[in-house]
Symmetry: C2
Subunit: 427 residues, 2 copies
């Protein structure tokens, strides 16, 4: 379903072009689960597994949560946070929590700012709420402290016993502090499969439970992701995942060290954040890796546009397009035409936006910025599921092509080691 258009990048390729033989080898390593980190490739058949039996308990918990309160607080960070937020904002808009009658979904445990914590508590007010704490180990400081805060809020409101039925835990099946706590307290819990790492976990209960509470059709998301993964199993340069992976690695070797992910939909902001983690954490290691950045068009045409058009020629741009908008809006007619824009009156904003996108694309290419366009039909569950599967698949192939393990993150430990030592007064 996802389509990749490399025509805006081709003029920046050298004669040999993207290395599809290397993409094929990377794909083989991935599919055989024989490359570095092969134990963390469970996401490859995850949608299929979730569809055959895994959804029911999630939908049933989502129903319970909606009945129990108007608010769900989701405690998580990194891969336990960005995927669900990306989905909810992309599909229901950044203002999803203003929709009448829907259960609000708020995220915590990803900041230590007391001001931010107090702000969220003020938003919660006196309303009934549930908590979904998400952590594979339970040992990560930010969500562990967020869990303490959320648990204390629940117990203050409902009492220690009644609070238990407001707490939902998503964690490892058998290991870690959070699993022990969930079992000891008798919280309803969900499993993060051992063979799926954080940034590839959005289609596990990690992402699916908050999405379901927000009213997203998670079956449709999974079906699209499943179909996409099947399409992307194609072993040929026609495979869109090969195209994206091979093109970006080729551009990187030719000095394009920053990739800007762009969209014309403001609701895409947190999808870009999810993508940054996926690519930055998978590829940025051993002193190499494309820097993953993002912009929101049209807004950022008037902020980052100058740099993109005229700054160092070390950028390429990947634009995610939706073939059609979900709604329409016509440019109003103005008696007198004081602003001279009546030639656009009656035209749909969606058409104008698409024309703008073409204008931007050709201006950027002419300015020396290779353009890769990734498109799906609509900004709906199917589009989201396809994009998730597409970017995950491409990412693993791209990382293998660059010679790194896509599934580890050794660098994340450095600050944690310092931090725990300092907090315990050890240095």
């Amino acid at each position: 379903m996802t389509k990749v258009d490399l025509s805006g990048a081709a003029q920046f390729f050298d004669a040999a072009g993207p290395d599809f033989a290397a993409a094929a080898e990377a794909h083989r390593l991935l599919a055989q689960r024989s490359g570095p980190g092969g134990d963390f490739t469970g996401w490859l058949d995850l949608p299929q597994k979730m569809l055959s039996g895994g959804i029911k308990p999630i939908l049933s918990a989502a129903q319970k949560i909606k009945k129990l309160g108007q608010v769900l607080l989701v405690v998580g960070i990194g891969g336990s946070y960005l995927g669900a937020r990306a989905a909810i904002e992309l599909l229901h808009g950044a203002n999803h929590n203003r929709a009448e009658g829907e259960t609000e979904v708020w995220f915590m445990g990803n900041t230590l700012s007391p001001d931010a914590i107090n702000e969220l508590i003020a938003v919660l007010g006196e309303r009934d709420f549930c908590v979904n704490v998400i952590s594979k180990s339970g040992g990560t400081l930010e969500p562990a402290l967020g869990f303490r805060v959320a648990k204390a809020l629940l117990e203050r409101k409902y009492g220690r016993t009644a609070a238990k039925k407001h707490m939902f835990v998503t964690t490892d099946e058998s290991h870690g502090i959070l699993r022990s706590i969930a079992d000891a307290e008798g919280y309803e819990s969900f499993v993060i499969p051992a063979d799926v790492g954080g940034r590839f976990s959005v289609l596990t209960p990690v992402g699916l439970l908050p999405m379901a509470v927000a009213g997203i059709d998670i079956k449709a998301v999974l079906e699209a992701a499943n179909a996409e993964l099947h399409e992307l199993d194609l072993r040929s340069p026609d495979n869109p995942a090969w195209q994206y992976a091979a093109a970006r690695q080729h551009l990187y070797r030719r000095g394009k060290s920053i990739e800007i992910l762009a969209s014309y939909e403001p609701s895409f902001r947190f999808f870009a954040e999810w993508w940054k983690q996926l690519y930055g954490e998978s590829e940025g290691k051993n002193g190499i890796g494309i820097y993953p950045a993002s912009v929101e068009y049209n807004a950022d045409l008037h902020s980052m546009g100058q740099y993109i058009q005229d700054g160092p020629r070390t950028l390429f741009e990947t634009v995610v397009m939706f073939d059609s908008c979900l709604t329409g809006y016509s440019v109003p007619f103005e008696m007198g035409d004081a602003d001279g824009l009546n030639y656009l009156a009656g035209r749909d904003f969606g058409d104008i936006a698409r024309t703008t996108a073409q204008a931007v694309r050709s201006a950027h290419i002419a300015g020396g910025v290779p353009n890769i366009t990734v498109s799906v039909p609509r900004r709906d569950e199917a589009g989201y599921g396809a994009l998730v599967a597409f970017f995950e698949m491409s990412c693993a192939i791209s990382a293998y092509m660059s010679g790194v393990n896509p599934f580890d993150q050794p660098g994340v430990e450095a600050y944690k080691k310092n931090m725990f030592a300092m907090l315990k007064g050890e240095n």
Copy 2:
């Protein structure tokens, strides 16, 4: 008031260190208004000018707007958008529009997505509202179309005559389509000084009117900015603006081509967007310029943290710190200490956040990422005003040091030319 700490960058300097002589020369060019773009240095004494007479009509319009409705729609893009949003989110949080009794401030005219337009109209609902349209010329397509939409909404609700008193225009004193329209229709209007460019205009009515409507003390913002500009007139390497400008130019010459602006406050997100425009648009030209990126800590320690710690050593990090938080929140005590975190019970999250920041700083420096720390006392009006003045001043000096005109943006025209031609069917 703004302090710069270069101790985390010093080990990455060469023996000669940052070029303060060049900073002095850049400062001289700027102060004498004799460098390229010298006609656009009006922001240098803007706070002083606004304080002596410019505030009253803004405060009075803000009062009118608050009486007329519960919502203000601000129509603007780029420099007519990011500064006010940065201020309102930084000082009142990303959820400012949920605060009881405050007038909500929403931004439009920065997207052509019909879905986003319809989403905003749904948020507005049947409530009373005003519009503040901001554009120096009136000729920029996105806000010009946003103005049409907003005007049509107003006229549909109030009728053509009564709608006029709900419309507030911020534009050039005498030139441009929007000025003509404002005068012809009799809209209340505010002036964007001719000698202040878009990205330096936040302390004109462009930013101040929306801020005032949102309940921000604009006098305090201006006083802090004014005091900061006076402090930054110091002609010595002790000048924090010289330090920041010279350090980043030095790091750039030593291969650090990406600057990541980081904060530990989630409410800082749009301040970083404002900063990206300021630096990206001022410096990114003629094929040179540091790429301005941003992250939100702690969240992004678990997404971009791996890349920062372990990816290509082409980054440096500028962290904006607030010396103290506005509120406190203590880690709850847990009977049984199942998670093993009772050693932190009773500690304030603000203290833990500061410890984390130290741990991150030393881990990143050890990993090869130079750290510049910029700090102000508090996340309040004074802190915001000081940061705005500091970053504007440093930016102009830094751009002059790199040999470019900080005040033009020739590259922004490229896509516009294409776009208007395509929309008019000329190609």
